[in-house]
């Protein structure tokens, strides 16, 4: 019996791994009544050999599926080994891994068997058992099955920290082409439902602090990139709509891994677009935290992100009229736009310049890469004053320095700038 569990774990972990999201942060679930676990830290307990964070037990309940989405390994027409866990097996596995400090919690998804509601019911039951029978306060992320009823999604929100509905494709046309069983509306409907349910819950919590939590880590989504011809502009516009209109916490970009001989898709052996994926995450990060807009990062005449340099540097090189800024007086909102200066450095600069006039040396000691920022900044010391270099020349110099930050690390979990 134990051998079969191991086999199933292999098959169902393998089938779940293409969902790139692994975040376990954004929740503030506390351990109550001396139970097991808490969810607040977002720890990566291990890293895969491709360098991705392992934070959650990411697994499918089953890889049986009645649908036939071309980009998915679990699609009905694919000839693969199928397996299914029982509700209890997943519950026990989660607890066993959690108690050993392997994971922060569970990320559960599933192929669709029988019908969407039947599948969703079981996902909800697993989360419910963990919370109510095992006093488990670790992180739970449930994938909502397209087509599941609002009532089941509501129940899911009572037990899960995060819920996600994957839009899969950046445009409706691509979705129709590759996932004929699904529709865009089928995905947007639960996203809108979740948005209002989460807002309503926040409002209740403000008024009655005892109100139950509802998906405290919000909702997220994922789209596959590189399987279809959409530009980065189209993709980031969609993402920014998700952030603004539906208050999504995160949008994930999954570089398509060719798994099918299907004529509609890139051939097997086509490289995974990892650099592009990395650039999209960088741009997404700038949209959410640095006050950039999509149109600033991608002017209409160049709808694709620069593959050679990161989007922040690319923006700076297109907008040299803004620079150089004086580190001792510049507005922090502008300072954070300088390539090589992150939000933390901005904070340090702001504090330190109240004590003394900052020099290159001070910046170095704060951990700022002076080689990078010198083209965009002046300080109290004269030694690196930039000459009148053209953007193209700066670009060449920085590229030739081969600074590691310019070589994308192909990871969706970035901590760049």
């Amino acid at each position: 019996m134990w051998e079969r569990i191991k086999e199933k774990l292999g098959i169902l972990a393998d089938a779940a791994k293409y969902d790139v999201s692994c975040a376990s942060s954004g929740s503030k679930r506390k351990n109550e009544n001396k139970g097991l676990g808490n969810a607040s830290n977002g720890i990566c307990h291990a890293y895969t050999e491709d360098g991705r964070c392992i934070s959650l037990l990411k697994i499918l309940l089953t890889n049986h599926c009645i649908y036939d989405c071309a980009y998915c390994v679990s699609r009905k027409s694919n000839d693969i080994e199928r397996a299914a866990f029982t509700v209890t097996e997943i519950v026990d596995l989660t607890i066993a891994f959690y108690r050993r400090n392997y994971i922060e919690g569970l990320f559960l998804s599933s192929g669709i068997f029988t019908n969407p509601d039947y599948t969703m019911e079981r996902l909800v039951l697993i989360a419910k058992k963990l919370r109510t029978e095992h006093n488990f306060h670790g992180y739970i992320h449930l994938k909502t099955i397209p087509g599941a009823s609002d009532e089941l999604i509501r129940q899911a929100g009572l037990y899960a920290d995060r819920l996600s509905v994957n839009v899969e494709m950046p445009t409706e046309a691509s979705l129709r082409l590759l996932a004929p069983d699904k529709s865009r509306e089928q995905m947007l409907k639960p996203m809108r439902y979740l948005k209002s349910a989460i807002e309503q819950n926040l409002d209740e919590k403000r008024r009655f602090s005892k109100a139950p939590q509802f998906a405290p880590a919000g909702q997220s989504t994922q789209m596959v990139i590189g399987a279809t011809p959409e530009t980065d502009l189209v993709i980031l516009h969609l993402a920014s709509q998700f952030y603004q209109r539906l208050q999504l916490r995160r949008v994930y970009y999954s570089g398509y891994v060719p798994i099918s001989p299907d004529q509609r898709l890139p051939a097997i052996g086509t490289p995974v677009p990892m650099v592009r994926e990395n650039r999209l995450y960088q741009a997404d990060w700038l949209l959410r935290n640095y006050g950039f807009t999509v149109d600033e990062l991608l002017p209409p005449e160049s709808p694709l992100l620069d593959m050679e340099v990161d989007p922040k540097l690319a923006w700076a090189l297109r907008n040299m009229q803004v620079f150089p800024l004086d580190v001792n007086v510049a507005d922090p909102v502008l300072l954070q736009r300088i390539p090589g200066i992150g939000l933390q450095s901005v904070k340090k600069i702001e504090s330190a310049r109240r004590f003394s006039r900052l020099t290159w040396d001070h910046l170095k000691k704060m951990g700022v890469s002076v080689n990078k920022v010198r083209y965009f900044l002046t300080t109290a010391s004269p030694e690196y004053q930039r000459k009148d270099l053209q953007p193209q020349q700066i670009r060449q110099i920085l590229l030739s320095q081969g600074h590691s930050k310019y070589k994308p690390n192909f990871s969706p979990q970035i901590s760049l700038f």
């Binding site: 019996m1 134990w2 569990i5 191991k6 774990l9 292999g10 972990a13 393998d14 779940a16 791994k17 506390k30 351990n31 001396k34 097991l36 808490n38 830290n41 720890i43 990566c44 307990h45 291990a46 890293y47 895969t48 050999e49 491709d50 360098g51 991705r52 964070c53 392992i54 990411k58 209890t88 097996e89 026990d92 596995l93 607890i95 066993a96 891994f97 959690y98 108690r99 050993r100 400090n101 392997y102 006093n135 060719p258 490289p271 995974v272 990892m274 340090k348 504090s351 330190a352 109240r354 004590f355 003394s356 900052l358 001070h362 000691k365 704060m366 951990g367 690390n409 192909f410 990871s411």
Partner: protein, 271 residues
């Protein structure tokens, strides 16, 4: 020139700070008893740790620094970095002689020192919170009802060895208390030869006499508990199968999981 020799405890170091202010010694260096550095031209003095004196210095610092800066100071101390006693002393002297709070004056060398070292210690704390791998030492109810659920009993004792770069046990204790409130556990620092033991009620500092040779490996004993062995195999299976071969990136993998931690990681053991 005076050399103050203290017992390596934080309270001991604070006592030394207290005394040098009390006796107005102008030139002082503080050095730990385990590796005292007394030069020919200095006069050694042994500091007797005194809680009351330590608390007075701490209270003085509390009035002048934020909670975060106090935490950073303590973390820098736990770095055990050679010579940190004097660097931290310079920081504290800068705090006490300035009329305003200086904790964010990153242009001052001692503020930079505390900032940088505290960051490194914080990183190690975070790593230990991630890389501790608890092993169930005995399965109380496994014989009665074998199965997956027996591999996660809250009734048994869980154990992990670590060997961190800095002395982070005092920093990670609360995290594990809050997370594993319903199971007993020991986390043992092999390098510093002490551990913390949570017994469902409180956490104590313990030392264990290991047999010769054990302190190089990750196991307290060879794990024979069948549920534990099975569970470790499941985790290895999981780790192997979530990997996407087409995206292999060893450099990034090692950057996130440096090799020196591997011997304690279940998923990095030979299959």
């Amino acid at each position: 020139m005076k050399t103050l020799i203290y017992d390596e405890s934080f309270a001991g170091w604070l006592t030394a700070v207290f005394e040098l202010y009390e006796f107005k010694w102008p030139q002082v260096t503080i050095t730990p008893a385990c590796r005292p550095e007394v030069t020919m031209f200095s006069e050694a003095r042994i500091i007797i740790t005194d809680e009351a004196k330590a608390l007075r210095v701490w209270a003085g610092l509390k009035k002048r620094l934020s909670q975060q800066a106090l935490e950073d100071l303590y973390r820098s101390f736990l770095s055990e970095y050679p010579g940190m006693e004097d660097r931290l002393l310079q920081y504290v002297q800068y705090v006490f002689r300035s009329p305003q709070n200086i904790e964010s004056d990153y242009s001052h060398p001692s503020v930079q020192f505390v900032g940088n070292i505290a960051k490194k210690v914080g990183r190690e704390k975070h790593r230990m919170e991630a890389f501790v791998r608890l092993q169930q030492l005995s399965t109380a109810d496994a014989a009665a009802s074998p199965g997956l659920h027996a591999a996660s009993s809250s009734a048994s004792l869980y154990y992990a060895s670590i060997s961190p770069d800095f002395n982070v046990l005092p920093l990670i204790r609360q995290h594990f208390e809050q997370r594993y409130a319903d199971q007993q556990w020991i986390i043992y620092d092999l390098r510093r030869k002490y551990g913390i033991f949570y017994n469902l009620d409180r956490t104590d500092i313990i030392t264990i006499d290991f047999n010769e040779g054990v302190d190089t490996g990750r196991h307290i004993t060879t794990v024979t508990d069948p549920c534990e062995v099975f569970c470790q195999q499941l985790w290895q299976t999981y780790f192997d199968r979530v990997n996407i071969g087409a995206r292999k990136n060893t450099k990034l993998h090692i950057q996130h999981m440096p090799r020196r931690y591997w011997k304690f990681l279940t998923e990095k053991q030979p299959r």
